[in-house]
């Protein structure tokens, strides 16, 4: 399997053109294999589930909390679904022609790319000034939580922090999507200079051939990477034990019981309670 494709420019120099589309199949395969492996593990393993009695006790102690707890504002949900729609459009317009479904894809692709880029800019501003910016990031302070999550997945009862607002899986996925998504978006903005569009004047000599080659390779790598990441995301979104998170992205709230069961109430302190709820 080739990873890169090469060409020749009018000066006789070898130039990178783009990634080998074999990588698309590799990413698809990796995404599906992860899905199968994880699903098998969840069926066969003794991973820890939070106990009902534990949550009953917490709920009894926190009656003052509202029945519904807002997890995602309307604008945050709008961003998520606009991004999802543009991401699916980008992936389908990019890869369907490669697998043999022919249609005029270029215009749809860059329009979806512009929508994605606009939504990312909106999200950065929204998250920086109107949301708890650091709540989604992962850092050294989260090592105990990562360790606890892993042990829980292995079926151990652990007296260690529960997640704050976002579970560790959410935060790690966000980190991956930031890296891969921004790579695709930034390289894509440069590539707009090679197609006719109403926003950026066409200038194929904006970058040197070698730099263009790297730009196309980065865009391609990000694209095939997103195939695997999106498969994983959709898989987790429809898993029964994660459905409460997906539902929250649709309706905006979680129940008091879900809040108490899945979150560390000291790390994500919801207003309305008489005091921060105790950790199980």
């Amino acid at each position: 399997m080739n990873f890169l494709t090469w060409g020749r420019n009018p000066w006789g120099q070898q130039i990178l053109t783009h990634v080998s589309w074999d990588l698309l199949w590799a990413s698809l395969f990796a995404g599906v294999m992860f899905l199968v492996a994880h699903a098998s593990y969840m069926v066969l393993s003794a991973h820890h589930k939070y106990s009902e009695s534990e949550t009953d006790a917490l709920e009894a102690a926190n009656k003052s909390l509202p029945e519904r707890i807002e997890r995602h504002t309307f604008m945050a949900r709008m961003f998520h679904w606009v991004m999802a729609a543009s991401m699916f459009t980008l992936l389908f317009t990019a890869f369907l022609p490669i697998v043999g479904v022919r249609f005029a894809w270029v215009q749809w692709h860059w329009i979806a790319g512009l929508v994605l880029t606009g939504s990312i800019i909106y999200h950065i501003i929204h998250a920086t000034f109107f949301l708890d910016f650091w709540s989604i990031w992962v850092g050294p302070k989260d090592i105990p939580e990562i360790k606890a999550e892993l042990l829980r997945e292995l079926g151990r009862e652990v007296d260690a922090p529960k997640p704050a607002k976002y579970p560790m899986g959410n935060r790690l996925y966000h980190l991956a999507i930031v890296v891969v998504g921004l790579t695709a978006a930034i390289s894509g903005i440069f590539m707009m200079a090679r197609v006719r569009n109403f926003m950026i004047s066409r200038n194929p000599y904006l970058l040197a051939d070698t730099t263009w080659g790297f730009t196309y390779v980065l865009h391609g790598l990000a694209g095939v990477g997103l195939v695997g990441l999106v498969i994983a995301h959709v898989y987790f979104a429809v898993r029964p034990e994660k459905w409460w998170i997906t539902k929250a992205m649709l309706v905006g709230y979680i129940t008091r019981r879900q809040y108490l069961m899945h979150h560390d109430t000291r790390r994500w302190n919801v207003k309305g309670g008489s005091q921060p709820a105790g950790r199980a």
């Binding site: 090679r194 200038n203 080659g213």
Partner: protein
Amino acid sequence: MAVIRDVMPVFELFQPATVDEALGLLERHGADAWVLAGGMDTFDWLKDRSKRVAVVVDLSQVGELRGVKEVDGGLEIGALTTLTEVAQHPVVKAKFGLLSEAAGLVASPQIRNQGTLGGNVSQDTRCWYYRSGWTCYRAGGNICYADTPTAINREHAILGADRCVAVSPSDTAPALIALQAAMVIRRAGGGERVVPAEEYFVGPGLDITRMTVLRPGDLLTAIRIPATWANATFYFEKVRDRQVWDFPLVNVAAALKTSGGTIDAVRVAVGAVAATPLRLTTVEAAVTGKPRNIETAQLAGELAVDGAQPLRYNGYKVPLMRNLVTRAIRGTTTATTT
């Protein structure tokens, strides 16, 4: 840049005697197989080493792909029929003079004697950046060298460009579109599909590496021309740099049915202005039912170039195309074939 060599590169040569044998070979070798008809396009590619093929399927021995047959008042022309045969065939000349004239203006007599109708409509573009073997979009790369600020793009597209600005160089293609022809495509296993001529050609938006709908394993076997436009009023004009042996800068083909000076029905197509020959449906709709006069013709010319986006050196194609379409609708008593 590709270097012209004196000898052909190495490939495996097959010379089937029947269509079924040819289809079997194309199925067996898939994308590795190169279909050779008259060879007028093929030999450039192979000798320049711009395209390297493992297998060549030479159709020259397949007799059933040759000849012109009358079918239901129309014609079925074998894909391997030479351009000279098409241009000189008495029925083609009598009933479908548009095609006869277009075929007779392809290249030079020697090339028309060897070149085939199927090859003429299926030939690759003449963009010299692409044919030089550089890795442009059409060759699987990520740039159009002809659409850069310093490019030599006098022959390139003014309409329908999508990353690639190469044009369809066929003279017979616009005529076949105007005559409402259909392409008969077969593949191994008995599959046959009939594609309207205007849908036979593929633009870069749909597939930047191909000029036609032909996929590996497909074989264009015949071109069917219905009786619909037999003995209609025809107009074909080709403008080129030299009077012989040259590709069109712009060509136009029109078939009209008129009564009492009014245009009852019309089909117009132009070549060499886009990656595919373009049927001008807007023009057709605008002039149908109108008198065939200079005002209608000028309206047609203006509509034809609506949306044209010339490159640095091909701005002349806009007035050229406008004037050719104007002349096609207006009609002229003087034959204008240069």
